[in-house]
């Protein structure tokens, strides 16, 4: 009886009928099924983990992975087809201030913003240039990207996956969100909504460098480890005595076990988050002295230990939101993100983890090829507005056909026009790679069965190796 996480029996029975099958069906009497017990997905998965490098704020596709010579040609002129409606008013075409080059054997195009990642890993990357979403607003699009719905309380994809797969490592949470600060729409990005709270993403503020501060209650400052061990031994004896007359109740046993788990978790969780245990050259490769390198390295350590989903948000609020001075803003952001990303891919590859780890990199939407007209100030128009009509997300690793480009935007990079991929489609594909039919991973709540993709979503097979 090593079941430590409990739903009520009825919930378990109910979920078994509608959602996913449990790997091991506990016998009826002593059933106290663990909601994080590793479970088999619907079919053979291509990936076991996801690392989502979330460039929150909306990186510009035409300044990174989607070069548009026509935009350069039209610089300063009105776009012939007119501008699409976005959040704010936009004006003439704004050429990208960045140089684009082809990389790798595949000749993948990328600008200087992600030079390191592209030059080292182009042939492992699949760029989707035809992403689109619903609204040019951060909070709605963040939630859409994370939960499949813009405003309603829906579980995040990480929660869905943890619900579907359980966790490989009982001493660590199954789903972790790393961010120095909080992204827009904060905890709604990793919420479990109507799924049990245990499936919610565990948020770690990576501005904190003291490992003991990262997880609440991970350490008791007033009891020595030896004293705590003694205390837990006493507790176990008292609990065993209490249990003698109540042997039929799995909940009592589960709680007894949970103290042993927690005791081990104190060690393992701090160990996973403690990057000082890495060799110096690895730390240097990631640039772990800065927060972006540090959290990318933490992500690798977590995945290595069996965490299913790790999200690395670039920063507080919406750093990639370059409404003004995109030339400098995007360059600086690229300098922060590029090296750590390249290091992560290399590291995973060397450790043989890349094949089973799906890397996703992108924002909640892209930016307008047309310049944004600043409101009510004397600022010069040098930035781009939000753009949900077309943007770029790239994937690498677990099951992804590297060195490819999928889908197209129009000649200026405004709108996805060919092989369009909605966020729901991306979700369907992610679930597919993790071994799930997105239409069958369901949970019953408030009278009906819910799923991540609601009534939408189709798997984008051509990007899968």
């Amino acid at each position: 009886m090593n079941h430590s996480y409990l739903l009520t029996r009825r919930e378990t029975l109910q979920q078994m009928g509608t959602g996913i099958g449990l790997l091991a069906l506990p016998s009826l009497v002593d059933a106290a099924p663990n909601p994080l017990t590793p479970k088999s997905p619907h079919f053979r998965p291509r990936a076991k983990h996801i690392i989502h490098i979330y460039l929150n704020g909306g990186p510009s596709q035409v300044d990174t992975w989607d070069p548009k010579p026509e935009l350069t040609r039209m610089n300063g002129k009105r776009l012939p087809a007119g501008n699409l409606t976005t959040e704010r008013e936009t004006g003439v075409a704004l050429a990208s201030p960045f140089k684009f080059r082809q990389h790798g054997e595949s000749g993948l195009w990328c600008s200087s913003v992600f030079e390191k990642t592209a030059s080292q890993h182009a042939d492992k990357i699949c760029v989707i240039n035809s992403m689109y979403a619903n609204t040019p607003n951060h909070e709605q699009s963040m939630r859409l990207m994370n939960t499949g719905d813009e405003r309603l309380s829906r579980p995040s994809y990480g929660s869905w996956l943890t619900y579907g797969l359980g966790s490989e490592n009982q001493n660590l949470p199954g789903y972790v969100a790393l961010c120095p600060g909080l992204p827009v729409a904060d905890s709604s990005n990793w919420r479990s909504a109507f799924l049990p709270g245990i499936y919610q993403g565990t948020y770690l503020d990576t501005r904190k460098t003291n490992v003991n501060e990262l997880i609440d209650n991970i350490k008791n400052s007033s009891i020595s480890p030896a004293d705590q061990r003694r205390q837990l031994d006493l507790l176990a004896r008292l609990n065993r005595k209490h249990q003698e007359k109540r042997l039929d109740d799995p909940h009592l046993e589960a709680r007894i076990q949970s103290f042993e788990l927690a005791y081990r978790m104190q060690m393992e969780a701090t160990d996973a988050l403690d990057i000082s245990r890495e060799p110096k050259h690895i730390q240097e490769r990631y640039g772990a002295d800065k927060v972006h390198g540090r959290q990318m390295l933490i992500a690798r350590r977590l995945v290595e230990r069996g965490v299913r989903v790790v999200q690395c948000y670039h920063g507080d609020v919406q750093p990639w939101d370059s409404h003004g001075d995109i030339a400098n803003a995007h360059r600086n952001l690229g300098n922060e993100a590029d090296g750590p990303i390249a290091a992560l891919i290399q590291d995973l590859d060397q450790r043989g983890l890349l094949d089973e780890t799906l890397i996703i990199c992108g924002g909640e939407f892209g930016r307008t090829p047309a310049v944004e007209i600043p409101i009510g100030s004397n600022a010069k128009p040098t930035g781009r507005d939000h753009n949900h009509h077309g943007f770029t997300v790239w994937l690498a690793g677990g099951g992804i056909r590297g060195g490819t480009v999928y889908g197209k935007t129009d000649e200026f990079g405004y709108q996805a026009v060919e092989d369009r991929v909605h966020v729901h489609d991306l979700h369907a594909t992610m679930l597919y790679l993790m071994g799930f039919d997105h239409e069958k991973l369901t949970y019953r709540h408030a009278g009906r069965d819910f799923r991540l993709t609601d009534v939408e979503g189709r798997v984008v097979h051509p990007i899968i190796a």
Binding site: N137, F194, I215, S258, G447
Partner: protein, 1148 residues
């Protein structure tokens, strides 16, 4: 359920023409086909009669058809029986049968057009489905009371009946101490006190009574309801951090619920108050108004109204009725008899209700709370004034821009932004997408040949050739014909522009007349006034109060504005900038050298002191921005009836006395003002000069801050033309160099007036007024005028109710207005002693007549539905709600004793909280997929008792807790019989034993506080943070977060306040153990317990600690363990270990 957003996308991908066409076809159906079917067909082919088994009152009806097959073949009129029948083609099939009812040719053509275009019929959601699918479901049957064996406990009798069927043996009664503990946790959520533990075995009924009489009872049971009510103290959304996240008066709802339970408020009354307290005739300050927090405390959904309403519908229907009505938002409920029409009937109720800015006060104002009331009142006035101002401006602008709107429609395809606007950042000049959309709708509805205004529109859009004669015959409005004939438009845009101009002119002429009449009125009063307010002139007024306080002249371009600025970027010094917006202010200038041009006639002065040429802010009616004082000699000149003109150095302003003389009919006059210094700093000084036609006539030099006022009183001779005031910085820098002029005015007595000129002026005004009134009299009222009403009626595309003003503001105005509205809450957060206010709803004006949003998409408006109750739970026939929004009708329908759901749903919840398991598996879903419970008879009996007792929940507790079933042991030992029963009935539906339960978050925290002697028993009031180590009140009083929920709340399975929670999940995870092992909260409790155990001998101390933590004496082996442990470890570690035990955390 909700698929609006993806659908929008799908629609986005359709060619725009198609979208418009779909919209138009529905319009066509609604306008032409539906009335025709109702009037000519449905009497015999509707719900009452089905001649030939055919029904024409729904799409399903004609699809299925009658005896002769489907009535309509969409797309093919000639194969459709309906066409055959109504066109009298076939002698055997003529409909309507009586020749005198025969349809007109136009009507038959309409039917054919409709069928040709696919027979789009939005009438889905039929009562047919209801009748067949739902009626037999157990939960929709009337509640029946069971017959109980004489002298038996009714609960036990009903349960034994079931047990006998199964041949199950119940467990023996629980141990007395365990039972007491079960009872105190059940009713109070707290461990028993020493006195309670001493209850004699025969005295349990008395214990129950005393527990129910204690206020601790309400604190426990309110929490159960708050789960259902998705209660939180926090807002959700962007930038909801710190104080901004606080809903300052949410707690009044929580307190209301606690009070309701303690007072044993009848449950039906509880329902009515929460949905419609405003309609119950309560005193304006009755605390019951706070009950409506149920409606107003939900998530904000980024201000998407449709989602807010969905959440209200969801909470109420699941919470009270156990029905998942929200499932019918996009399509008829897949399982339950709830058509989409029902969803939108309820939608209409909540869409017709709004949350006012001004929340009613429901408590007395304390001495410390006075300041809040004053501040709040001022803020509310500011909000309402601002809104009114925006509203009028937006409406006027929208009317004025009618030509632009029509051109937009003629030249563009519909844009998604027109219907999904909540994300858009509009700039002030942009057309408002919602208004564009409504113009499109209006034209789609009215561009049919017989329309007197838009009749020619469709033809003209295709071909701009004018057909004046044919239009005259069709009675097209002559003004439209004349406008088009005169302008000879050549393109759709030009046609639209002419249309717009003609429509606007009808309205704007009337506006001009009104304005002129208003002007005549003020001119008349001007002729009898004795002074002119110069600050009012600066604000664009006429000197008699038509200017607005706070307005100012901008020195760079001479416009009059409400804006302000710090240092102004001056391009040109020493030269006059004219002020065209005022006929009385000639111009303004910023002096730098000694020479300046001071009038539009080129008048120049040469004797000014040189200055830095810098200046702060504008020429303002009221104080300039920055640090200022507004008082001179103790009088605040910024408060009416006083007025002031603020001139921060260096500034010059020239008034045109001849213009003043003309309107006032005066010859001579005097200039008067009290000069003061508006700067805060004592070292600052200014120079002040007055010029008359360029000659210096008065000066005050080196005037200091805080110096007494200096009176200026100068005669103005009949020939003087320009009065110039100049303020300069007096050399020592510019900081705080602020002149304020108290009551600056031009005064005149009757002797100053030219009487004959005055008489002449008055006569002129009278004549003009008469002619204007005559014109007005000859005009039709704008609302009756077919063109005027297009802009002025409430049906006009430009019209919207004032409370929707926010949606029409530009980004900057929106941000500013929201900032202002948020201040209402921030003031309320700041004033901790503020008297409580209730988060109410009131009926909106106008009420919303709902339509079905097809597939949940608000841009796809379908059939209108009445505001009314759900068909499945309504008496037949269903009747539309009669009172206002219908909230009270809704509440009454829910709280009715004839409603089969309400009482059952509530007793099931009560049962669940006593037993840990409900009788009906899904407490918020009694729909078709929830099968009849094993204990159906018991459920019905309890529901029956509840209603009979006058909906008293406390009597339900007594009934349940006095039963043998409740008092059974949870222990089954190693008994094979029980094991066998466990296999047969693993979820204990037959109730042969009690359920062991783990403490929930609130029980756990409250227990630790109580056993360590920290618990502070204070009822009600503002919440404190659960993470605040000094906040030792019960957990129900902690601040419930929506975002960034504290980890202890998350890991201990508290209800998620995003949506209504029927049952909490129950997990056991290591994070809970980490909290027990490592949190300072538990460490501190342990420490206090150890400190309170003061006995000398270790054995006695162990006994003391056992009594405190577990309420019992330790056994011998437990003492041995304790002694052994405490010889090497501190006592607090020992107390800590006991606090972590399963014995403490579980209730047997």
């Amino acid at each position: 359920m909700r698929i609006a957003a993806p659908l929008l996308l799908a629609i986005c991908l359709l060619p725009p023409g198609l979208l418009e066409a779909a919209d138009q076809r529905i319009e066509f159906f609604e306008k032409r086909i539906r009335p025709l079917l109702v009037h000519h067909c449905q009497e015999c082919h509707g719900s009452d009669q089905q001649e030939g088994k055919l029904r024409l009152d729904s799409m399903a009806g004609w699809k299925r058809g009658g005896k002769t097959g489907p009535a309509i073949v969409p797309g093919d009129p000639s194969s459709s029986l309906l066409v055959k029948a109504v066109s009298y083609q076939d002698d055997r099939l003529k409909m309507p049968p009586d020749k005198k009812d025969q349809l007109s040719r136009q009507q038959v053509e309409d039917i054919m057009t409709w069928i040709r275009q696919g027979a789009i019929d939005p009438r889905t959601g039929t009562s047919v489905a209801i009748a067949t699918s739902g009626m037999n479901h157990w939960a929709f049957q009337p509640i029946r009371s069971a017959r109980i064996k004489k002298n038996a406990h009714p609960v036990d009798d009903l349960i034994e009946k079931q047990l006998r069927k199964k041949k199950f043996t119940p467990t023996p009664p629980a141990n007395h101490q365990a039972l007491i503990r079960r009872m105190t946790y059940d009713l109070h959520g707290l461990p028993p006190t020493r006195d309670q533990l001493a209850t004699e075995p025969g005295q349990l009924d008395a214990l129950i009574d005393s527990l129910l009489a204690s206020p601790r009872y309400g604190e426990r049971w309110a929490r159960h309801w708050l789960d259902v009510a998705r209660y939180a103290d926090a807002k959700d959304g962007v930038l909801m951090y710190g104080d901004a996240r606080i809903r300052p008066f949410a707690y009044t709802y929580r307190d209301y619920v606690i009070r309701a339970f303690n007072d044993d408020k009848p449950f039906d009354r509880f329902i009515r108050e929460q949905i419609a307290a405003d309609k119950l005739g309560l005193p304006a300050d009755a605390p019951e108004h706070a009950a409506m927090g149920l409606l107003t405390l939900g998530r904000m959904f980024d201000r998407n109204r449709h989602d807010v309403i969905d959440d209200q519908i969801d909470t109420i229907t699941r919470g009270f009725l156990g029905l998942t009505v929200s499932c019918a938002r996009c399509h008829d409920h897949k399982f339950d008899p709830i058509p989409t029409a029902d969803y939108y009937s309820l939608y209409g109720v909540f869409a017709s209700s709004i949350e006012p800015y001004n929340r009613p006060r429901v408590g007395t104002v304390s001495e410390e709370g006075r300041a809040y009331e004053t501040e709040l009142e001022a803020k509310l006035t500011e909000v309402f004034d601002k809104r009114q101002q925006h509203y009028e401006f937006l409406l006027q602008t929208a009317r004025d821009r009618t030509p632009d709107y029509l051109v937009q429609i003629a030249s563009t395809e519909p844009d998604l932004s027109e219907t999904a606007i909540f994300f858009l950042s509009l700039i002030p000049e942009q057309l408002r997408p919602q208004i564009t959309y409504r113009w499109r709708q209006l034209i789609a509805r009215r561009a049919f040949p017989d329309d007197p205004v838009f009749g020619p529109w469709h033809d003209l859009m295709k071909d701009p050739t004018l057909q004046v004669e044919s239009w005259k015959k069709r009675a097209v409005d002559p003004r439209i014909i004349a406008g088009l004939a005169e302008a000879q438009p050549r393109s759709p845009e030009e046609i639209a522009r002419v249309y717009g101009q003609v429509i606007r002119s009808v309205w704007s002429r009337e506006l001009e007349i009104d304005r002129e009449l208003e002007a005549i009125k003020t001119q008349r009063s001007a002729l009898s006034s004795t002074y002119l307010n110069l600050a009012d002139l600066v604000a664009g007024g006429n000197g008699l109060g038509t200017g607005k306080r706070g307005q100012a002249i901008e020195p760079v371009n001479g416009t009059i504005t409400g804006k302000s600025e710090g240092f102004v970027d001056i391009q040109q010094h020493d030269t006059l900038i004219p002020v065209p917006a005022s006929q009385f202010v000639d111009g303004v200038f910023i002096p730098k050298t000694s020479t300046a041009i001071i009038s539009t006639t080129g008048l120049t002065i040469t004797d000014l002191p040189a200055t830095s040429g810098q200046t702060w802010d504008y020429f303002r009616f009221g104080p300039s921005g920055g640090f200022t004082v507004n008082t001179i000699d103790g009088v605040d000149y910024n408060q009416p009836p006083q007025w002031m003109l603020a001139l921060h150095a260096n500034k010059g302003i020239t008034f045109d006395l001849s213009a003043i003389r003309d309107t006032q009919a005066i010859e001579s006059a005097r200039f008067k003002a009290l000069l003061g210094h508006g700067g805060e700093k004592g070292t600052s000084s200014i120079d002040f000069f007055v010029y008359l036609d360029g000659k210096r006539v008065h000066q005050v030099k080196g005037f200091l801050a805080q110096q007494p006022g200096s009176l200026v009183d100068l005669p103005l001779s009949p020939d003087a033309r320009f009065l110039t005031l100049v303020v300069t910085e007096a050399g020592q820098g510019l900081s705080h160099d602020q002149a304020i002029l108290g009551n600056p005015r031009i005064t005149f007595t009757s002797s100053d007036k030219n009487t004959s000129k005055r008489t002449f002026e008055l006569a002129k005004l009278a004549a003009r007024e008469e002619s204007l009134r005559a014109e007005l009299g000859s005009r039709k009222s704008l609302l009756e005028d077919p063109l005027g009403s297009l802009l002025l009626s409430r049906e006009s595309p430009v019209w919207f109710p004032i409370d929707k003003t926010y949606n029409y503001l530009s980004r900057q105005d929106k941000d500013a207005f929201r900032g202002l509205v948020n201040q209402i809450d921030s003031i309320s957060v700041k004033h901790k002693a503020a008297a409580p206010r209730a988060m109410v709803m009131i009926d909106d004006d106008p009420l919303v007549d709902p339509v079905i949003f097809q597939r949940g998409d608000p841009t796809q408006r379908g059939t209108p539905v009445p505001r009314q109750f759900l068909q499945i739970a309504s008496p037949v026939p269903q009747a539309p709600f009669a009172h206002g929004s219908g909230r009270l009708d809704l509440a009454n329908a829910i709280a009715s004793k004839d409603n089969p759901l309400t009482a059952r749903v509530w007793v099931n919840r009560v049962w669940m909280h006593h037993f840990g398991e409900p009788l009906v598996e899904n407490p918020s879903d009694f729909g078709l997929r929830t099968t009849q419970p094993v204990q159906h008879e018991l459920l019905d009996y309890l529901a029956h008792v509840l209603i009979r007792s006058g909906w008293k929940t406390k009597s339900l507790h007594r009934l349940i807790m006095s039963s043998a079933v409740y008092q059974r042991s949870s222990e089954t030992g190693n008994n094979s019989r029980y094991r066998n029963q466990g296999v047969q009935d693993p979820t204990n539906q037959y109730l042969w034993r009690a359920h062991r339960r783990r403490l929930d978050l609130e029980q756990m925290r409250d227990t630790f506080l109580m056993v360590s002697g920290q618990l502070e028993n204070k009822l009600y009031g503002r919440p404190g943070l659960i993470t605040d180590m000094d906040f030792n009140r019960r957990t129900i009083y902690t601040f419930i977060e929506r975002q960034n929920v504290p980890s202890v709340v998350k890991v201990f399975d508290a209800a998620n306040p995003d949506t209504s929670t029927a049952r909490r999940v129950n997990t056991t995870v290591p994070q809970q153990a980490l909290f027990a092992m490592n949190s300072t909260f538990i460490s501190r409790s342990a420490k206090l317990i150890a400190e309170q155990a003061t006995a000398e001998k270790p054995v006695d101390r162990i006994i003391q600690i056992y009594q405190a933590v577990l309420g019992r004496a330790p056994g011998a082996d437990e003492i041995t363990l304790g002694v052994e442990f405490t010889t090497t470890s501190p006592w607090e570690n020992y107390a800590h270990a006991l606090l972590m035990t399963n014995e403490l955390m579980f209730i047997d």
